[in-house]
């Protein structure tokens, strides 16, 4: 039994190719931004831990 109906809209060759291109670029952008955030987060956390330690030392 054929369950999935034949797509009734013509997506258009040019539209399809462009869509894949834009979406891929946006996808890469999203991935870069996400890893950049992770990197920043990693250093940020490290920095703040250091600051906390310094503060602790000053208190002692």
């Amino acid at each position: 039994m054929h369950l999935i109906p034949i797509p009734y809209l013509d997506p258009g060759s040019g539209s399809l190719i462009l869509q894949v291109l834009i979406a891929t670029l946006l996808g890469i952008g999203l991935a870069v931004r996400a890893s950049w955030k992770r990197i920043k987060g990693y250093f940020g956390r490290k920095k703040s831990t250091q600051e906390e330690e310094d503060a602790d030392q000053q208190r002692n």
């Binding site: 999935i4 809209l9 040019g14 539209s15 399809l16 462009l18 834009i22 979406a23 999203l30």
Partner: protein, 460 residues
């Protein structure tokens, strides 16, 4: 398509093999075909249907015992809630089309969370109900397979992005191109009409300008390899479209009637009297549906709306309709629907066999029509003879509240300032005799200190 035993197949839903709409004894049904059974089951079982209906994004339906119209291919028959008044993108203001576009994208995002995708993105699948845009096509969802691109991307750009960009960056009146191009405005035409500076807008550069160039380059050529997009990339595309649409704005400034109410020919006291008359006469009729013709920004629609009726508040000025719609949103006036309509050239029957999209006339008549401060614009600016105007109104309503504005009125004087007065029959007597042929006057009153007269009439 008329069949025997009082069943009508609706002429607007024949393209999609998943199913179609039909009317039986005035009740709207949708047959779902067997080919769509998996999709329909996923829509309901996944919780997507409940989520979308709960958020007011999709029209509610009930499964029905009504026998299908084409039993050999049928899976189910459902009875969707009916939108109270059908309207079309070429009758919407900028803000209405923009909200319809954003709702389409919100639905697409939600669908992807439930393993589904919008298989089409037609502006005609969106209708205004309770003041908000809602998807009326329950069969718009397909199963989403990871890696599959969005087939409706092109349709979304043509139906929504193209007209919105043209309205925002070139001229708001270009929204009317949707009336010519029913499957959306061709992107090459859009790219040609848009100002050069839109190439500096990254969203419009890609989704319109490069998109149009890609369509031209690959026209008629098959895509050789299976193209894939990860679901993250597809989500990125939808969110990008959301941002591009959200950033498009149009301010209704410098309008034809923008400050019209500030310079009407009524004092505050008379204006209040006029409002009270509209309220009183509306309450007398107890209408379900009211047409307010030449509504401007909807001041008198709001008086009529206190009756609880649905008011279709129509004007030919895109700025007035936009202001009206923004007020509806702000004040949550769910029973007022502002629409763009030129009475001298109302929406005709359009599309395949001239029956896909309904004319303004086919969607009436209303129980009550308001035609306030309108007669002089039609009779003098557009040379419409008074009996023609009366006949037109008689086709639109059972009850009528109409205002006569005499030649002595400064607004009429303004219209006559640049032209020769060839309107010898434009007088109160001429007006009354023209309307007497179609209507019986129940009451006539002067709301105050001006020469204008308000009539409450019943169609003969």
């Amino acid at each position: 398509m008329q069949t025997s035993n009082g069943i009508d197949r609706l002429p607007a839903s024949f393209r999609d093999p998943a199913g179609f709409l039909f009317l039986k004894n005035g009740v709207l049904y949708r047959q779902i075909n067997r080919a769509y059974h998996q999709q329909y089951t996923r829509l309901l079982d996944s919780g997507l249907y409940r989520e979308l209906v709960g958020a007011g994004l999709l029209v509610r339906h009930e499964e029905s015992d009504q026998p299908p119209l084409e039993a050999e291919v049928a899976f189910k028959v459902i009875r969707p809630d009916r939108v109270p008044f059908v309207s079309y993108p070429y009758e919407w203001s900028f803000g209405q089309l923009k909200d319809a576009a954003l709702v389409t994208l919100a639905i697409q995002k939600q669908a992807m969370k439930f393993g589904m995708i919008l298989k089409d993105a037609s502006a005609y699948n969106i209708q205004f109900s309770q003041g908000k845009p809602v998807l009326i096509d329950t069969l718009s969802f397909d199963l989403y397979e990871e890696g599959k691109p969005w087939d409706a991307y092109r349709q979304f750009c043509q139906h929504f992005l193209a007209p919105l960009a043209l309205m925002a960056y070139r001229d708001v009146r270009l929204g009317q191109l949707s009336r010519v191009y029913l499957d959306g405005i061709p992107l090459d035409l859009t790219a040609e009409l848009l100002p050069l500076l839109t190439r500096g807008n990254l969203g419009l550069l890609t989704h319109i300008h490069i998109h149009a160039a890609a369509q031209k380059r690959y026209a008629g050529k098959p895509v050789k390899r299976a193209l894939r997009i990860t679901s993250t990339a597809l989500k990125g595309l939808v969110e990008n479209l959301e941002k591009v649409i959200s950033d498009l704005t149009w301010q209704p400034l410098g309008t034809e009637w923008g400050d019209y109410y500030d310079c009407t020919n009524y004092s505050d006291h008379s204006l209040e009297n006029k409002k009270a008359l509209v309220r009183k006469w509306t309450d007398n009729v107890r209408p379900d549906l009211v047409f307010d013709l030449g509504a401007n920004t909807g001041m008198f629609s709001r008086e009529s709306a206190t009756s609880g009726a649905l008011i279709i508040s129509m004007d030919l000025d895109p700025a007035a309709v936009e202001q009206n719609y923004q007020a509806v949103k702000r004040k949550k006036e769910f029973n007022i629907l502002p629409l763009l309509l030129d009475l001298t050239n109302p929406t005709p029957q359009l599309g395949w066999n001239l029956s896909e999209r309904d004319s303004f006339h086919h969607r009436g008549p209303a129980d009550l029509t308001l035609a306030l401060a309108l007669v002089h614009h039609l009779a003098i600016s557009n040379n419409i003879p008074l009996p023609y105007f009366a006949e037109f109104l008689a086709g639109q309503c059972r009850w009528l509240i109409v205002e006569f504005v005499p030649k002595t009125d400064s607004q009429v004087q303004k219209l006559l300032a640049s032209r020769k007065d060839i309107f010898s029959s434009y007088s109160q007597e001429g007006f009354e005799s023209a309307f007497a042929g179609f209507f019986e006057t129940i009451q006539a009153e002067r709301p105050g200190d001006s020469d204008r007269t308000l009539y409450f009439m019943k169609r003969r």
